[in-house]
């Protein structure tokens, strides 16, 4: 039954535009939050490509604990959107096998904090299939996982483990910061023949967050990136985005901190060029180089711990590419090098003030 249901026609709902490959915005845009945008990416891809299958804990009948696959099992069948046992290593291992057999799996790991039982399957298998088999085998798995803090999740629902994935050779790594990119990048990830680990900062699922927990939550409605085409489009992997043009310094960041950096730069009264890295691996070096060579000053910021964090790679890259243009040492603002504490969430999180201090440091140095 489900197999028949899964033989989708290209005109099924959710793929309103079928001019595949087009990066054009479709006319049918609407306001979406990040959950809806991610849902829509699944919907579009399940509709377009019968080889796409989705699996994960609670993703089927229930529609995911964050609702990212709500109603999709009903729409595409139980063989396309599959509830999984609680076994992250099993989910990723099975996804690899599905992929080797010609399917295009999208695996959800319910929280990034719970991805580690699947780590061996990522490091030793998924990342190296193509390499070790000299290209005879590969598996186009996308692993989606909510990450980051700011939701009082304590040390088991707040981590940002992106750097341990970017450190593996052979998986692409993405962290998104808004609904438009989330959908476009997720579609690119699903279409990619390389494995992609796709991080979704859960704090900004429902609205951008500028790092001030005392302010009332805002929705994506007023944010330009909250306008999302209904149908198919892609945002390319491997391309950073300059989200704000500026001349005083460059702030290189990604995920939730993009929004914190924007607010901090405004408060600091500087003209900051803010770069959302978006795809952490492979890194868009050109966009970083161009910006920092122009501004001469650079602040790197992320929510994850500092030591051997992804920021270290950004600093090293900028140092190499822009050394003769730098007017001050590159600075870093990150989470502290401790597990993510429940009670001290807002002392741990790189709030605006910490970014402002970082900006000042970069600006003051002669």
């Amino acid at each position: 039954m489900s197999a028949e249901k899964s033989a989708v026609s290209p005109m099924s709902p959710g793929s309103s535009q079928m001019n595949s490959g087009s990066r054009q915005m479709n006319p049918g845009s609407r306001q979406m939050n990040m959950i809806q945008a991610i849902h829509s990416a699944h919907d579009v891809m399940l509709g377009r490509d019968p080889s796409v299958v989705v699996l994960g804990q609670d993703v089927g009948y229930f529609g995911g604990v964050f609702r990212c696959t709500d109603g999709l099992q009903e729409k595409y069948g139980e063989h396309r959107v599959i509830d999984a046992p609680i076994a992250e290593g099993g989910i990723i291992g099975v996804a690899i096998g599905l992929g080797v057999n010609g399917l295009r799996p999208v695996a959800e790991i319910q929280f990034a904090d719970y991805i580690y039982p699947g780590f061996d399957q990522v490091v030793s298998e998924l990342a190296r299939l193509r390499y070790r088999s000299a290209g005879e085998f590969f598996s186009p798995v996308t692993i989606r996982t909510p990450c980051g803090g700011g939701i009082r999740g304590g040390q088991t629902h707040s981590q940002s483990p992106e750097a341990i994935f970017t450190h593996i050779s052979g998986v692409k790594t993405v962290m998104v910061s808004n609904p438009y990119d989330a959908k476009g990048l997720l579609i690119s990830a699903i279409e990619s023949d390389d494995p992609v680990v796709f991080f979704e900062p859960k704090r900004i699922y429902n609205g951008p967050f500028d790092g001030d927990p005392d302010k009332p939550a805002v929705s994506w409605a007023a944010h330009p990136k909250g306008q999302v085409p209904e149908g198919y489009y892609t945002v390319p992997l491997g391309k950073a985005e300059v989200v704000e043009q500026g001349s005083d310094l460059t702030i290189i960041t990604y995920g939730t901190i993009v929004h914190v950096a924007q607010a901090a730069a405004r408060r600091a009264g500087v003209s900051a060029e803010i770069i959302d890295v978006r795809t952490l691996m492979p890194l868009d070096v050109e966009t970083l180089r161009e910006s920092v060579c122009k501004t001469g000053r650079c602040l790197v910021a992320h929510e994850a711990t500092r030591f051997c964090g992804y920021g270290a790679e950004l600093v090293a890259t900028v140092q190499k590419e822009c050394f003769w243009h730098l007017e001050a040492p590159i600075s870093r603002v990150t989470g502290w090098d401790t597990p993510y504490p429940h009670a001290f969430e807002w002392q741990y999180f790189p709030v605006q003030q910490r970014l402002i201090d970082g900006i000042k440091k970069v600006m003051e140095t002669p």
């Binding site: 604990v65 046992p85 076994a87 719970y114 040390q155 629902h157 500092r306 002392q347």
Partner: protein, 414 residues
């Protein structure tokens, strides 16, 4: 039958709007299952994994060889712990709804799993509980105030603000720190038990996972190591039928009982009525005696029902019938023990009502004290430098620098 391979997708017997249907649950009549000697060979008692050990019958009387013959005083004590457990849960659930604590997990309907087992251990035994085993912390002497302060992340929080609510610990009472990661503690319990054997001590270890967590690799590591080294450990599977939205079929429960998971390794499994305190106690005691005598590990499946949501972040009305718990054939553990005591002539409705009031008052009083030690929103707060402690035994220089930087920043902001 199918003529070709097909993908089986487990489906629960009832979804929202359907009539609850527990016809899948294989029950044995109370008193029917034999009680072998504790040194029985695993191969001779495999049937225990497939039956259901029950002591309390439909008339609320204790029956058969597993009747542990507990005295009235102990039964009343057990009932008191269960009623306290429920009163504590009810209060904390409500406090979460009022925004006083950020999160909560109640054990509604599963109280006998912790309280029944808890009665069977010795003080020197080490317990590795899961996040729905608060009953073990309560009965082993973790005070209500202490537990509430943990949930509040306040100035008296045993975890110094580092953990979400309900992740208790009590090293003095041999209760390990609860992990939010599933089944991770299962092999650790086996390791602790192996350690006791290495040291020549007679202490045993026990751990708990849910039906869903049996899918994790750690579950299987634990069974393998326990079998290989004949570790003095009791491995419990609390089968409460639901793992958030997925029913126990998604952990393989459709095919064989979870108690049978160890049979292939030669570990005896016992499937027991998890809502029958007498049966839970008797089976745990049997396994503890076996482990202490050097006869090795036991896997116990406790058949129960998750009466509430998975957590305060969950909404079960989206995936299961609202009234499913009421239709659960093994009933409510509190009610069943209460009826048993009443049937023996040692308990009355008035006494029960008084007990509920007593426990409610106890909890209310504890809450009043706990909240006076602060919360995430009201002082006194924990000292923020605690964030940097205990990452290592001694704080390395780079963390000292990070701590000082944060403190300087806070001073600057006043």
């Amino acid at each position: 039958m199918s003529q070709q391979p097909y993908l089986h997708i487990p489906r629960p017997t009832a979804r929202p709007g359907d009539k609850p249907d527990f016809s899948y649950l294989k029950l044995s009549p109370a008193g029917e299952v034999d009680r072998p000697a504790t040194d029985a060979r695993a191969a001779d008692i495999e049937h225990l994994a497939l039956k259901l050990v029950r002591v309390l019958d439909d008339d609320h009387l204790a029956k058969g060889p597993w009747d542990p013959g507990l005295d009235t005083e102990t039964l009343v004590k057990a009932l008191r712990w269960m009623v306290l457990n429920r009163a504590y849960d009810e209060r904390m659930q409500r406090m979460q709804r009022q925004g006083k604590v950020t999160f909560y997990i109640q054990s509604l309907g599963e109280e006998a799993v912790s309280i029944g087992a808890g009665l069977a251990f010795e003080d020197g035994d080490m317990l590795f509980p899961a996040y729905r085993n608060q009953g073990l912390y309560l009965m082993r002497g973790t005070g209500l105030v202490e537990m509430m302060c943990q949930c509040l992340s306040n100035s008296r929080d045993m975890c110094k603000g580092r953990q979400m609510p309900i992740f208790y610990q009590n090293s003095k009472k041999n209760l390990f720190t609860i992990s939010g990661n599933l089944a991770t503690q299962y092999p650790q319990a086996v390791g602790w038990a192996m350690g006791a054997a290495i040291k020549g001590e007679r202490h045993i270890a026990a751990s708990w996972v849910g039906d869903g967590s049996t899918a994790e690799a750690d579950f299987h590591y634990a069974l393998t190591f326990a079998a290989v080294y004949n570790a003095p450990v009791i491995l419990n599977v609390t089968n409460n039928q639901w793992a958030i939205s997925t029913f126990q079929g998604f952990a393989g429960g459709e095919r064989r009982p979870f108690a049978a998971r160890g049979l292939g390794l030669g570990i005896p499994g016992i499937r027991v009525d998890g809502n029958d305190l007498l049966a839970v106690y008797a089976v745990t005691r049997w396994a503890a005696t076996r482990a202490r005598a050097g006869d090795g590990p036991t896997l116990i499946e406790l058949v129960t029902y998750r009466g509430g949501a998975h957590s305060t972040s969950d909404d079960p009305s989206r995936y299961r019938p609202k009234d499913e718990w009421k239709a659960f054939p093994l009933g409510d553990p509190v009610e069943r023990l209460k009826q048993h005591l009443a049937r023996l002539g040692h308990w009355s409705d008035e006494q029960h009502k008084a007990l509920e009031e007593e426990m409610k008052a106890l909890v209310a009083e504890a809450w009043k004290e706990a909240i006076s030690y602060g919360s995430l929103t009201d002082p006194p707060f924990l000292d923020v430098s605690l964030m940097f402690e205990d990452v290592f035994a001694e704080m390395p220089d780079y963390l000292v620098a990070q701590r000082d930087k944060l403190l300087a920043m806070q001073r600057q902001q006043g």
